[in-house]
């Protein structure tokens, strides 16, 4: 398996991250090097091993389904790059 420029473009788009054309070759080379280094994991026998996502292996706590926060529109909008009234402003999405 090897990452080519078209894969870099595809992954970059999935990540919504612009990678300028002049950097794509280098990014592909770095990714190939890192991913081939990871291939060593194929040596490990993982048959019948459960994946580990949470080290404490506990069921996450449930909390009561009650409103305990809110009325913070100003706090939420305080760092907005662009706002109008209580809304974030973005480029037009629907024609």
């Amino acid at each position: 398996m090897s990452i080519d420029i078209s894969t870099v473009v595809k992954i970059a788009h999935l990540a919504r991250l612009k990678v300028p054309p002049e950097e794509q070759q280098k990014v592909a080379a770095d990714m190939n090097r890192i991913l081939s280094w990871m291939e060593q994991l194929n040596e490990v026998d993982v048959a019948n091993v459960e994946p580990l996502a949470n080290v404490n292996d506990r069921t996450l706590r449930m909390r009561d389904d009650v409103v305990n926060d809110g009325d913070k529109a100003e706090d939420i909008l305080a760092n907005a790059p662009s706002r109008t009234a209580d809304f974030f402003v973005v480029p037009k999405v629907v024609e």
Binding site: L14, A15, R16, K18, N79, V90, P91
Partner: protein
């Protein structure tokens, strides 16, 4: 009386209680040290002298009223990954260049409730991704140990990373202590290369709420100090259950300071044979043996143990951490907060903002993370990494049936120079070879400064404990600290 900036937290707490000096006096002494060091070291991204003076005055008033907290009047630095209400918080990234949180992280709130004084926000690798503090968008931090080696006096050394600003500030006597965060070694490796103490507690001990997320299943907060007793005191303040972090664990927090100075007689110290890696630095190996001998002389029993999957920890980490990061960093979209770069449509705005706002290493990790989670590769990379992660954890479970604490090196060597290890990302990743295993297993680890290498630079050793058994870890660390008697100061301090 020694200089106020040379005091440890423990000494300062005692001195404040005896009214030998005031919080305002020690805060002013540290603010002056920060001002002097900042042009040379660049440890801080934002200094907050006005906040510090106000907090120090309030501290003195509390003390006069007999209401002083556990860290009342202690001047500390906060890693710029912790959200601080009304104070710019950047994660050392251009994408958060002008972000002022409207809330306080749980850990900083606990520190301030205990009376700590904030000197400012300290530098780090961008989004805590790195081992050198050179990926910061606010320029690298320089280690106060630069110039120790007469043969290389002009080399500017890194303070390690990602908590490099924290390490430099504490080592340079600018801050009495600092907060760090550790996802793969980011507290312990900088502590080791700057000659200070740093502990990553058990996953779940400290709340992650309000700390900018890198890899949520690995991130933990912890203290960085100049003594083991200080780390014990400060961790007790930082730790504790928090309903705002679903992975925070509801367990009592013991008084860790009670472990300091206790005997390690009969304690079983494990030496993992797989940590003796190919091409290991001779001085690192010698230091490790010396540390084992120190603990043996103190009455502990040293035994060999095996952690067979050690060599797979780094590749597992570099799948899981970027995968989680790619998801966590999806929130930086140029819409709700942070930097915005316009585009011809909404997708263009996202892509331009993120392309311009994130630095090279962060972009690389987002792309790797996106790739290993993408359709067709998820099972081959991410799921397999999670399975190997369990085998790594099982190794520790087996080892801790035979020993109480594990002794290992913290970092592969001493501090390197700025600009080194930059061409090949894997070279930089290897800095974490001895530290990442713990994050994957969720275990606590502490780095204790032990000796100077032949180049005059500090080296630490790492102790690893059972989950939630920080008490035993502090006991062993305190014995190692006492035996090592590390008192060297960086040349910057003189």
């Amino acid at each position: 009386m020694s200089k106020l900036t040379d005091l440890t937290v423990t000494e300062a707490v005692a001195g404040l209680a005896k009214k030998e000096f005031s919080a305002v006096e020690i805060t002013d002494a540290h603010l002056a040290a920060v001002e002097r060091a900042q042009p040379a070291l660049n440890a801080f991204i934002t200094t907050t002298p006005n906040v510090a003076r106000k907090q120090a005055q309030e501290s003195d008033a509390r003390r006069a009223a007999g209401k002083a907290g556990a860290m009342d009047g202690i001047p500390i630095a906060i890693k710029d990954l912790y959200c601080t209400k009304g104070v710019r918080t950047t994660a050392a990234s251009n994408i958060l260049n002008d972000f002022k949180p409207t809330y306080e992280s749980t850990v900083t709130e606990k520190l301030f409730d205990a009376g700590a004084v904030m000197l400012g926000k300290v530098n780090l690798d961008e989004f805590a991704m790195g081992s050198s503090t050179t990926t910061s968008a606010f320029n690298p931090t320089i280690s106060p140990w630069s110039g120790s080696d007469p043969a290389n006096a002009a080399r500017k050394l890194v303070p390690g990373g990602s908590s490099g600003g924290s390490a430099a500030a504490v080592a340079a006597r600018c801050a009495m202590a600092a907060t760090g965060t550790d996802t793969g070694g980011s507290i312990r490796q900088p502590a080791s290369v700057t000659g200070i103490v740093g502990i990553k507690p058990t996953y779940g001990r400290c709340s992650r709420w309000g700390i900018i997320a890198f890899a949520s299943s690995l991130d933990q907060a912890g203290p960085m100090t100049r003594s083991v007793a200080d780390a014990a005191l400060m961790l007790r303040v930082m730790a504790g259950f928090d309903t705002k972090d679903s992975t925070s664990v509801d367990m009592p927090v013991p008084d860790y300071t009670a472990a300091i100075g206790q005997s390690v007689k009969g304690m079983k110290i494990g030496i993992p044979r797989e940590y003796r890696i190919d091409g290991m630095d001779k001085q690192t190996d010698d230091l490790w043996q010396k540390g084992a001998a120190m603990l043996r002389d103190a009455g502990a029993e040293v035994i060999e143990i095996s952690l067979p999957h050690t060599k797979y920890a780094l590749p597992v980490y570099y799948i899981i951490a970027p995968a989680e990061a790619s998801s966590n960093l999806a929130r930086y979209d140029g819409v709700r907060f942070g930097m915005r770069v316009p585009g011809e449509d909404l997708i263009g705005l996202y892509e331009n903002t993120r392309g311009a706002g994130f630095g090279k290493e962060v972009r690389r990790r987002i792309l790797i993370g996106t790739y290993v989670l993408s359709a067709g590769y998820y099972d081959a990379y991410y799921l397999r990494a999670q399975k190997v992660r369990r085998r790594i954890r099982n190794d520790f479970d087996e080892a801790f049936k035979k020993c109480d604490v594990i002794l290992a090196p913290t970092a592969p060597g001493t501090a390197f120079a700025i600009g080194e290890k930059q061409d090949d990302p894997i070279q930089m990743y290897l800095e974490d070879v001895f530290t990442v295993t713990l994050n994957l297993a969720g275990l606590p680890g502490i780095s204790v400064p032990v000796a100077l290498a032949s180049n005059g630079l500090p080296m630490g050793l790492q102790l690893i404990g059972r989950a939630f058994d920080e008490m035993t870890l502090f006991k062993a660390a305190s014995a190692l600290e006492k035996a090592a008697g590390f008192t060297a100061k960086p040349p910057f301090v003189g």
